[in-house]
């Protein structure tokens, strides 16, 4: 059974890139357009969440908090996508319970390396 990764981003191109790269690496990828959508899709089996931080409706930090507050998702790895300039947001995300982060821009190799690190 391929591990399921949920990519949460309001940017379709980033979602596409994540999906493409990780599907290639043997994972199964589902997409969500924002935090709210992600929470709805978390009812199914998901082994890892990769989320952007800036999104409409429910942003990445809010999503991480909601996931950590949900006992059904205990220990679920969450990787956030940040940019260099978002140091403060990164710390906020970590405090909210993010497992790791990837700094944009990132290459496909970096993405796969981080996913391997937190998901195996």
């Amino acid at each position: 059974m391929a591990k399921v990764i949920l990519t949460v981003d309001d940017s379709a191109s980033v979602r596409q890139m994540v999906k493409f790269t990780l599907s290639d690496a043997g994972y199964s990828v589902i997409e969500a357009v924002d935090g709210k959508d992600a929470l709805a899709k978390l009812t199914g089996p998901v082994n890892l969440v990769i989320t952007d931080l800036n999104m409409p409706n429910l942003d990445g930090i809010g999503l991480i908090r909601s996931i950590r507050a949900n006992p059904a998702c205990k220990g679920l790895p969450i990787v956030m996508l940040t940019t260099e300039s978002q140091q403060a947001r990164k710390l906020e995300g970590k405090a909210a319970g993010a497992t790791g982060w990837i700094v944009k821009p990132f290459s496909t190799e970096q993405l796969v390396a981080v996913v391997k690190r937190v998901l195996g």
Binding site: D10, M17, N54, R68, G75, P105, R117, V118
Partner: protein, 688 residues
Amino acid sequence: MIDKHKQAFQEEARELLVELESALLELDQKRDDREVVGRAFRALHTIKGSGAMFGFDDIAGFAHNLEAVFDRLRNGHLAATADLVSLTLAAGDHMKTMLDEAAGHGAVDRARSAGILGELRQLTGLPEPQPGIAPTSHVGDGAGTSGLAHQWRIRFRPGPTVLLNGTNPLLLLRELRGLGQLRISLDTAAIPPLSEIEPDRCYLAWEMVLTTAAAPEAIRDVFIFIEDDCELAVEQVLDQAAPTPTPAILAPPQSVPDGRSAAGRETASSIRVSTDKLDQLVNLVGELVTVQARLSELAGRRDNADILEVSEAVDRLTAALRENSMSIRMLPLKATFARFHRLVHDLAIELHKEVELTVEGADTELDKTVIDQLSDPLVHLIRNSMDHGIETPEARRAAGKRSTGTIHLSARHSGANVLIQVSDDGRGVDTEAVRARAIEQGLIDRGAQLSEGEICSLIMAPGFSTAREVTSVSGRGVGMDVVRRSVEALRGSIDIGSNPGAGLAVTLRLPLTLAIIDGLLVRVGQAYFVLPLANSLECVELTRKDIEDTHGKHIANLRGELIPYIRLSEYFQIETARPELEQIMVVETEHGHYGFVVDQVLGDHQTVIKNLGRLYRNVQVVAGATILGNGTVALILDPHRLVQEVVQSRSQKKRSNGRSKSVNSQDSKLTAQFVKKENRINGTQSIQ
């Protein structure tokens, strides 16, 4: 693929610019609407982030400056003005031309970029333009190698809550191992008593020695996600570079609290010994076992306590020595299996097929002699699978399968045997074709009624091949019967399971070792036999009354379970007066539990297997012979074969109504001759 992503980004960026424009126009109406500012910010943020991802660095850099302004607007540090809105609108238009340029239309006025940014700075009082998107180091890069291997001692104690944040420390260890040779010892000192354990907390710490050419930053980088949430110490162990990746002998890590962790297995030092010497050792141990058997026999007869004591001590030592020297000869199948990856790869190209090889249980250990002789049969089986079994990619797709075929190689222990299986997901055996071909080649009669399994075993008949054309890979009909013969030479057996359309699985059952087995010595009349202990389940008594109860049918009632039995005296035609009380050895076989009726069970016996002479090589039910302490020869029986023969001869008799002479009767006759001859020899010996 990258171009596809770029295309997607361009489309998305254009949409985002439209979104930015509409947000800006709205902002012009409602200057302090945070929601609208947020929309503009997100649009710019995404353009920046995605742009940098797909190589649109100038757009990303440009958007970054705008994003910084809108971040301040969003946080209320700056107020939106008409000038700012119109400047941002112009900047949006400028980004459109940048996109156009990237798509190959028109050119961008670089001075205009700088102009807009300059105006922006004037307007907002932002400091020096922040560097656009600085190249940053992440996982996988920046971790340069220093060229030479160094040893690093790493102490890693994750914080108690890391598991809750989704961190799996084991994955980090695994990643470390990817950097070089890693020795890990676990520190369990912090685990509280069971009553105080909170299951989602991490109480473990690790102490590791890593030999790697990677820079220390690369080591720290592995832990970057939890660097604030763990204790981590990375220090170099040896100053001079280790010339080889083999670890030097290191003192056990000091902070490991006691010896129960890895301290004991610091180095697995080894020496190379020629296999000749090993063979010699095993031979000598074999002789020793025989001599020891004579010693115990002698000691038993003398009934002298002193001699008995020594004999028992020798007995124990011999058993330990035997065990030890056998384990020296055991090798994992890994090396043998590893060679097949290349074989599959090369054959796949030659045959224009797509095949992947998966391997399981490569750590299973087998006697070196067995491994050496196993390689060829396995090559045959894999070639067969690839040539006959796995279809061409087109045919596979047509059959609704994945175009890439899979060959699965697995090994596992089963009692005193190792089962090695080669399975594929190809077309399986076409039983009709095999049948037709076998009739064509005169292997079976036209009217013969054969079961699926029997048809499958026809594949292993000498000269049999269904391949219409001879390919360079297989099809000459020397395949499967060669495999069968080599496996049988190893005292193993083959089982073929076919699932037409879905694949073929060939299972080889091989003995763990060839030289010595643990057996149970039994007596039938004057003859002695050894049954392998690994298959024996229990001994029960068989009384005259039991036999009467079943009306002479060869079935015993064992705690409610009906167990068919074979009377060895009948099978081997040994004339013996049936004792009042016989014994049944219950043995586990492929055909279920079976009993062997013997006159007496004498006890366990370490058995050095000697091969029978050439004359008896076709006798399948006897695995070999051994010499007992008093010089008597005992035959070592192969219970699987014995039961198989009996089952087969019964079904053959049923079919042919006893017209044809069964294989079994020949077999048992030959054996019977042997037993009689032995008895004569033993008889003369006892006269002397």
